[in-house]
């Protein structure tokens, strides 16, 4: 297996009500990624795209072929990946495997979503399609509800009074808003206080509006290349050193293991083993904070904190810049935004920049970061862990 390098990237501003179509958003970031890689569209041998709801949002399926044509990647094989909120991540992992295997030398990975075009009611309906449609959706199940169930279960399992857990959850959201202020691509540039979180609209107990990420529009892209090709193009290679992907079934079928997500723990284990690293080796992490409680569960499942303690870690500042393990220096899904098809690619873009030391001016650079971990959760059932390394 060959070593694989992340070359250039492109990232749109994440936003509400994008004036651009999915094809336009994706084309722009893809061209940025290709140019930053010192390549031309004709050098791209294959394209992987994460996109989830283009069909519902714009009546646009098969966005991958139309954007490929728009950017001059004429007749290049382009494939759409759907794994709910982890769609971009599975597109990235698959591209890694093609380059590592030697079949392709240069693959473009993109992700795009224009969820706000649907409006909240239809967006909520379509996002709920990534839970079980027959056995769970009829109860009124939505993804906020899934994490409402997990939050109460978490409080009960670890014997944390709900009021304490709510404060810990608020600390997660407050931190994300703070770092998003420093990220020019972030959807929300607004300081948030603990009091504002706890006073916000109740979505589904105990999840309040500010425990939840927004619906978002946006796109991101990166170019992957074999080490041999990359050496000619960059003197700052960032390698993909470990990958993991697993699936799981409907929430009730994960029964005794909850509120832990076993599939995440197995995906992370694959990535750590492949990279020859442990959680202690990770210098910076972007994880799937679709809800504040989801961030807490994720940080524990990735081995960054003991079970039942991650909320306290956020409160103590261990997840901040300069802390034990800086998490979501981008602002996370909560404040950077969560255009679901693009999220995994956005995480990769962000961590690549961390490992190249390119975020100093933005005031959110983790000093001398060598290894970075990304974690993405799609619906009830797709978990991806990818580790990036600076050498």
């Amino acid at each position: 297996m060959r070593r694989v390098v992340v070359l250039g990237g492109g990232h749109s501003k994440f936003c509400f009500n994008s004036p651009k179509t999915s094809v336009e958003m994706l084309s722009e970031v893809a061209m940025d990624a290709i140019r930053e890689s010192s390549l031309e569209a004709r050098d791209i041998q294959a394209i992987n795209v994460g996109n989830v709801l283009g069909d519902f949002a714009e009546g646009q399926g098969m966005v991958q072929s139309f954007f490929a044509n728009d950017i001059g990647c004429f007749n290049v094989p382009a494939t759409r990946f759907e794994g709910a909120c982890a769609s971009g991540s599975i597109a990235l992992r698959d591209a890694f495997i093609w380059v590592a295997s030697g079949y392709y030398d240069i693959v473009l990975v993109g992700g795009v979503e224009r969820a706000t075009a649907m409006g909240t009611a239809l967006a909520t309906r379509t996002f709920a399609m990534f839970g079980d449609s027959r056995y769970e959706f009829p109860t009124g199940f939505t993804f906020p509800a899934a994490f409402g169930l997990l939050a109460h279960l978490y409080a009960h399992r670890y014997r944390i009074p709900l009021e304490r857990l709510k404060e810990q959850m608020a600390a997660v959201s407050v931190q994300s808003h703070e770092y998003a202020m420093k990220n020019p691509h972030a959807q929300i540039h607004k300081q948030l206080s603990k009091e504002e979180v706890l006073k916000s609209f109740m979505v589904t107990t105990p999840i309040q509006l500010h425990d939840a990420c927004p619906f978002s529009d946006g796109a991101a892209a990166v170019v992957l290349a074999s080490e041999e090709v990359a050496k000619k193009l960059t003197n700052q290679p960032v390698y993909i050193s470990g990958i993991g992907q697993t699936s799981s079934g409907k929430l009730s079928s994960q029964y005794q293991y909850l509120p832990r997500l076993r599939a995440r723990e197995l995906a992370a284990e694959q990535a750590y083993r492949m990279a020859g690293l442990t959680p202690q080796d990770i210098d910076v992490c972007e994880l799937h904070d679709c809800f504040s409680i989801a961030a807490i569960i994720a940080a524990e499942g990735l081995g960054l904190f003991e079970f039942g303690t991650a909320g306290e870690a956020w409160e103590r500042g261990e997840t901040r810049l300069g802390g034990k393990i800086p998490i979501n220096m981008s602002g996370g899904l909560k404040a950077k935004g969560h255009p679901i098809g693009a999220t995994g690619v956005s995480q990769a873009y962000e961590l690549t920049r961390q490992l190249r030391g390119q975020l100093v001016e933005q005031g959110r650079q983790v000093d001398e970061a060598k290894h970075a971990l990304m974690d993405t959760l799609g619906g009830d059932g797709v978990l991806v862990s990818i580790i990036f390394s600076a050498a």
Partner: protein, 141 residues
């Protein structure tokens, strides 16, 4: 290989307040909602069983947010129940004002009823869902 219980049959039974599961003859685990295989050992040596429908609430959420076309159901309490036979299933909760539900709900004994979600334009038809209610007093008699 065919399913022993498909959704259509599970749904038909649930509409008569009967909950169908699958008992694994190899490891003893009961799977419900039904799957092709045992949810624990992945074995296929299972038999169809009717479950008691009784269990205890493990967790809950009261939702003020719903999907297109279902706004009139709000607020609604969703519960995860561990059935006496072992499996966990998702349902709703009757007998209690959704706005007053709190952590004391966890551990409460409940029994099965049902209500039918008539379906929407994406759901390919109706689906019965479990609706639980308290049974503690009845059992204590």
């Amino acid at each position: 290989m065919e399913y022993k219980v498909i959704f259509k049959d599970y749904n038909k039974a649930l509409k008569r307040n009967k909950l169908l599961g699958l008992k694994c003859n190899d490891c003893g685990t009961v799977t419900c909602p039904p799957m092709m295989v045992c949810q624990e050992c992945a074995g296929t040596n299972q038999e169809v069983v009717e479950l008691s429908g009784k269990g205890q609430v493990l967790t809950f959420t009261t939702s003020y947010l719903n999907s297109e076309g279902r706004e009139n159901e709000l607020p609604i309490t969703i519960v995860m129940v561990q059935l006496d036979e072992g499996p966990w299933i998702m349902g709703n909760l009757d007998d209690v004002d959704p706005k007053r539900v709190n952590m004391k709900l966890i551990g409460k004994r409940v029994g099965l009823g049902h209500r039918v979600f008539p379906g929407d334009r994406y759901s390919a038809g109706e689906a019965a869902r479990p609706v639980f209610s308290y049974i503690e007093q009845i059992e204590n008699v």
